[in-house]
């Protein structure tokens, strides 16, 4: 293959090193590179500093508990008075609520994004988009209050009772679906539902923009080949925007993992030892939010920071997992198909 830079005038192409030098010294490019690299480094610095802070400020707790902090056990103890702390109920709660919210939010957000990008009449597109972005702006406290006063009694409690009486009776699922649901509706199910409502706007808005940015040529080529609208969406748009969609989903997952206020208000805040989604639970961010301001002993504060550290590492691992998934899914899609 010809590796030399092409020349417009037909003269002998310049040597590689000269061309590279010229490019490197091009006015403005150096500072620009430095700036972008610098900002990228800043982001890493931020992540490292937070990780370091969490690591350092939990040293006593880590020394005191070791790995037994994480052990899955059905009678885990969280006792600020005696100084015995175990994190398993919170880890389970966070995992359960976040995954539940993803399972619910991703299909719905995709549907919304497809509707907004492809099917919506143009005059409706902007206002509807604004409405969804408004949903993203509602403070988490308001979600919590609405949850307690309206959503839980009206929707979650009947739903939970229904699920407990149907799925909760089946042999395999009874572990996750048995009742009884508390009368107030506070449960892991409530938290999962509220979280799914909270992360839908993020995933939907970004996915919509991803779809809107797919070149018209791609769509038209597919339609010209005789595909129906849905086939175009499913087989052309989705793979093309898969990277962006997964980015949106990861952002949504991040929000779900870290969401504090709304979850605390509806999750029940109780360590019961049951794995059921219909029972009250506790998440990692909730316990930190609930107890940090009033933690009196050093061990208590440090145990809470250790929970934050566990959450941090868990986010890291989940992201590695997601990235592997992207890599596997994206292997079949040509990356340079963009005209």
């Amino acid at each position: 293959m010809d590796k030399s830079p092409h020349s417009l005038t037909g003269r002998r192409p310049a040597p590689h090193w000269l061309a590279h030098l010229r490019l490197a010294l091009h006015y403005g490019d150096r500072p620009w590179s430095a700036l972008t690299i610098g900002m990228a480094l800043l982001t890493i610095l931020l992540m490292l500093s937070i990780g370091l802070l969490l690591w350092g400020d939990s040293s006593q707790a880590r020394a005191a508990f070791g790995l037994s902090f994480l052990k899955p056990t059905s009678d885990a103890s969280w006792n600020p008075v005696s100084g015995n702390f175990q994190a398993w109920p919170f880890i389970y709660g966070t995992l359960a609520t976040s995954l539940m919210s993803l399972v619910l939010a991703v299909p719905i957000s995709l549907g919304v994004a497809i509707f907004l990008a492809e099917l919506c009449p143009t005059w409706l597109r902007m206002p509807l988009g604004w409405l969804f972005e408004l949903l993203a702006a509602i403070p988490s406290v308001v979600y919590g209050l609405w949850g307690i006063f309206v959503f839980l009694p009206t929707v979650v409690e009947p739903m939970g009772n229904f699920l407990a009486s149907t799925l909760g009776e089946l042999p395999m699922l009874t572990l996750f679906f048995h009742g009884p649901m508390p009368a107030s509706g506070s449960s892991l199910l409530a938290a999962g539902l509220v979280l799914s409502i909270m992360i839908t706007p993020t995933i939907a808005a970004i996915t919509r923009d991803v779809f809107l940015a797919v070149p018209l040529t791609q769509r038209e080529a597919s339609l010209a080949l005789g595909a129906t609208s849905w086939e175009t969406i499913w087989k052309v748009l989705l793979p093309y925007g898969m990277s962006g969609i997964l980015g949106a989903v990861i952002l949504g997952l991040g929000r779900a993992l870290g969401e504090t206020m709304a979850v605390t208000m509806v999750v029940g805040n109780s360590i019961g030892g049951s794995l059921s989604l219909m029972r009250p639970g506790y998440t990692m961010s909730s316990i930190i939010a609930n107890e940090f301001a009033e933690a009196v002993t050093v061990l208590h504060s440090q145990a809470l920071i250790e929970i934050a550290l566990v959450l941090f590492i868990m986010t890291l691992l989940l992201n590695i997992l997601a990235r592997l998934l992207v890599w596997r899914v994206g292997r079949g899609i040509p990356q340079e198909a963009r005209a």
Binding site: T36, W146, L257, G258
Partner: protein, 322 residues
Amino acid sequence: MTTGTNLWLGVSTRQMIQSKAGYRRRKLSNIFMLAITGLFTLLALIPLFWIIGYVIYKGGQYINLDFFIHLPRPLGITGGGVLNAIEGTLLLTILAGLFAVPPGILAAYYVSYKPNTLLGIVVRFGTDVLSGVPSIVIGLFCYALIVKNQGHYSALAGGIALAILMLPTIIRTTEEMIKLVPHSLREGSLALGSPEWKTALSVTLPAASQGIITGILLGIARASGETAPLLFTALGNDNYNVGKIIQAGIGNHQNIFTILGMIINQPVDSLPLTLWKYAQQPYPERINQSWAAALVLMILVLSLNILTRVWVQLRANRIHGK
């Protein structure tokens, strides 16, 4: 196109395309799936209208002009408002935007063009992990870094905490949007002799601007609704009033930098913070005010969204000569 068996069990793709029955099936499945997206949109709209309706219903009863132009008053004294919180929210949002948007866009630019370098991979990791950090932890981080060293709570610390919250959203969306800009656009600009930085600023970023603005607005929407990080950075301030500070500064013949310093170096309140504080208090009057504050916040963010979109649209129209 994929080969092999199709969604409709046992029917190969070739049969689907080439037979009349297959065509009917595809048509049906098309309508069915599109109807489902419509259904999902309706489903997603239900909580939206429900929550917004609830906030309007509960907050609308207690909102009045006083609410916007007065500072808080104790119980039993009428005419109190949340002016301090409104100003605080605006100030914190501006600060957060200033701190988050330029670094975010620049970092995203680097990552989108060099995704497979070590730095690119690590940065993408970093932003994803950062997006999962609970907001309260970010607050604690800023407390240790800024508040402790400055010796006081401040709007500056709050703005930085919110900026850290916004950063992953901005970086992620900007990166994805830049990647979706056709390569031909960038290469055309470079081929015409434009340097890399000029291409970025006048071709690539404007081409991706719709999505980037979505990311920024989403980030601002989230940041302006956060409470937990502000507890440890901005603290809250019932007597914060920018107008008063400027008046006092002018009265004392202080220069603009001192006045600016005084504006950003004091503890400030914000609408979600006020909401949270009031909602926890025993008094029905405060709880009513907290709903009214929620309504004000929603109006603020909606206005910001609409204004920004309209401004972008006008600018685009101007460019295209409409």
